[in-house]
């Protein structure tokens, strides 16, 4: 038993934290968010140079062969800084290629992902599907008259994170044999881009007979999608812990400095107890993020992994809500303003609570796995 990061993980987390503290302060981030593109190519290059884009990929492709635990410290730092670069969607796309793809596809794509030259996104969720990963309406069929390897894909995908930034998009669609994955270049898709509540960039993606390349086996995609979604869910749990830590720290600081009735408001017991509950909620969330990331990395089976990830997501969703709401409440009116970072961590935590399934979704999934 050991809950510490190893030396490498700690060094990496520290260097990411230092980099973000220096280059990704609240003011710098504001400019990035307000830019046309909505993320910074410069920051992206730096992240890649630090090795972050290669962390979970095999050394065969220049990566570090790491797992979710190796990414925990990075995601915490990202949560603390409220990073908006399309890091998570690129990792998700890359993981789908790594888990499902053939050798040629991996060789063609992963080194570029590792080096930060290629950004990916995963277009899966559809209207009416809510959080059900199996419910996909998009369809694909072999192109007529082509060389035999090309497919035509038709459908609509909603809230594809990093859609516009992506060079290639992994798209899920049904064939005669069932749910499958395809690689599609961004140019052959219609992307309607927008800003999300948490100031990231996403878009709705439409495609009609878009040309795509089958990724992995035809019809066997659901277990891979579930695996990668669990991986990503564990990562946002770690990211949430970083955002919660920020929200708790900044609120505690405010309680110590803000004066009313001639004394710091942190002297009031009504507020002290609420602050303690936030602190405890953050520690409990951290514990569950550790569990989720460890189980994602272990080989104890898909059921065990899914159970741990769903349990973690329930706790993270509940506690993200508690901490984000209380951090605003304890800041009073100032917490409502765009001027304070705490209102932005509120927005990110609000979205994380629902990203990849809200508490209700994971309560149902956990119960189903228990049978």
């Amino acid at each position: 038993m050991n809950f510490d990061y190893n030396e490498e993980q700690q060094l990496l987390a520290d260097s990411v934290r230092r980099f973000l503290a220096k280059n990704y302060g609240f003011e710098a981030r504001k400019k990035i968010v307000a830019s046309k593109q909505g993320w910074s190519a410069e920051v992206w290059t730096q992240l890649a140079e630090m090795g972050l884009t290669g962390l979970p990929f095999s050394t065969d492709y220049g990566g570090f062969g790491g797992g979710a635990v190796d990414l925990m410290g990075v995601m915490e730092a990202a949560g603390d800084a409220l990073l908006v670069e399309p890091y998570l969607p690129t990792l998700m796309g890359g993981l789908l290629v790594a888990r499902a793809g053939g050798d040629a596809q991996k060789k063609a794509l992963l080194p570029a992902v590792v080096e930060g030259r290629l950004k990916l996104a995963f277009a899966h969720s559809e209207k009416g599907a809510r959080y059900n990963l199996a419910r996909v309406g998009a369809s694909a069929r072999r192109s007529t008259g082509g060389a035999g390897s090309a497919w035509e894909i038709t459908g609509e995908k909603l809230v594809v994170l990093g859609a516009e930034a992506a060079d290639r998009i992994v798209v899920s669609a049904n064939t005669d044999k069932g749910l499958s994955l395809f690689l599609v270049s961004r140019e052959s898709l219609r992307v309607r881009p927008y800003v999300t509540l948490d100031e990231q960039r996403a878009g709705d993606v439409g495609f009609a007979k878009a040309q795509g390349e089958l990724l992995g086996a035809e019809g066997g995609a659901l277990p891979v999608i579930e695996e990668v979604m669990d991986f990503a869910t564990a990562l946002v749990c770690a990211e949430a812990v970083g955002a919660m830590k920020f929200a708790c720290d900044t609120t505690l600081e405010y309680l110590k400095t803000r004066k009313q009735f001639g004394v710091p408001i942190g002297t009031f017991q009504a507020l002290q107890h609420r602050m303690v509950d936030m602190y405890v909620a953050h520690e409990q969330a951290r514990s569950m993020a550790c569990l989720a990331c460890s189980k994602v990395d272990s080989n104890s089976g898909a059921g065990d992994r899914a159970r741990a990830v769903s349990a973690a997501k329930i706790k993270i969703a509940d506690n993200a809500r508690l901490i984000s709401q209380e951090s605003v409440q304890l800041h009073g009116g100032m917490g409502m303003t765009e001027e304070l970072k705490v209102s932005h961590s509120f927005r990110r935590l609000t979205m994380i609570a629902q990203q990849f399934g809200d508490a209700d979704h994971h309560l149902a999934r956990f119960a189903a796995l228990d049978k």
Binding site: M1, F3, M275, V276, Y279, Q284, S287, L291, K315
Partner: protein, 402 residues
Amino acid sequence: MDLNYSQEESAFRDEVRGWLKANLPQDLRDKVVNYGELTRDDLLRWHKILAKKGWVAPAWPKEWGGTGWNVVQRYIFEEECGFAGTPPIVSFGMHMCGPVLLRFGTEAQKKRFLPRMYNGEDFWCQGYSEPGSGSDLASLKTKAERASDKSGDHYVVNGQKIWTTLGHYADWIFCLVRTDSTLAKRQEGISFLLIDMRTPGITVRPLVLMDGGHEVNEVFFDNVKVPVENLVHEEGKGWTVAKYLLGHERMNTGRIGASKRELAKLKDFAARQPGDDGLPLIEDARFRDRLTRVEVELMALEITNLRFLDQMRRSGQPPGADVSMLKIKGTEIQQGLTELSMQAVGPLAQPFRATGTDLEDGAFDRFTAGLAPRYCNYRKTTIYAGSNEIQRNIISKMTLGL
């Protein structure tokens, strides 16, 4: 990061589990899992079985009977005991007075009290709270005045203690008393005394709780003579002792093993109990969601507890104020489970069978009739041992610096 127990730790768990299976008397286990009232004999019988095995005081120094286990082993042991359904080790001696004597006692006091405590020859209770001093312990008024007569130097104790758990079983009580009331600072002038419960002038009056059970008492002191050699540490330094005792927390403040047993039992029961639609209650989404939330809370608490143990093992330092977190969450979970268990049986929870009545009374279902009283009884957990509000005060002050 590795959340798994090492091979040695797992082997240790197997050893403890195997031994408990072979040595926990079935009638005691039945009483514990069916929420029966444990008698003095029940508690001491289990205590003596553990003492004979050498496992009754794991945290004590080896020379006094400790096992030499590290914090993780001690946690595993307590978790397994909770999971198996052993009677509790009565804390007042082994986990409270014992550590105090080991830290502050004279050699003579250690030799006099520790072996008898270890072997279950003396049953101890705690005299801290008073009617006017609950959370505000330092306001206590029970007075001890120095006097001497032909029998020697002694204190004369007058006053009242309350919430004295198992005081009616006890041979000895350790008390905080006021030896000097002239000092400006209330924490000064308090002393730590060991008092023989058979001394003339002591009266124990039961306080029956709303579950019908008798576990706490009021203890009255009317000119009770206590020899001066029963003073622990210096006169007037009792607050230092009290603080040490509060900091000397057990590994299993969150009672995770027992909550795991209760959860498993509840799930098993809910799988057999029909809901309104005739399907198993556990498939009722509303019930199931509440059950899962408690289960997830317990998972989080277990890992948080392991994180603290991991820190303690490597730093060699006690966990400090964060133990308060384990108390808050652990008791919330225990209450959540008792509440859900009572609700799980629906209308069958209504027949009242007071805690401690005969389990074999045919008029009641052994399981269901104990659930509502237990729900009532467990409201105590967020009040005792420093209410959860006091625990929040501790975290607020010690950890957050507010």
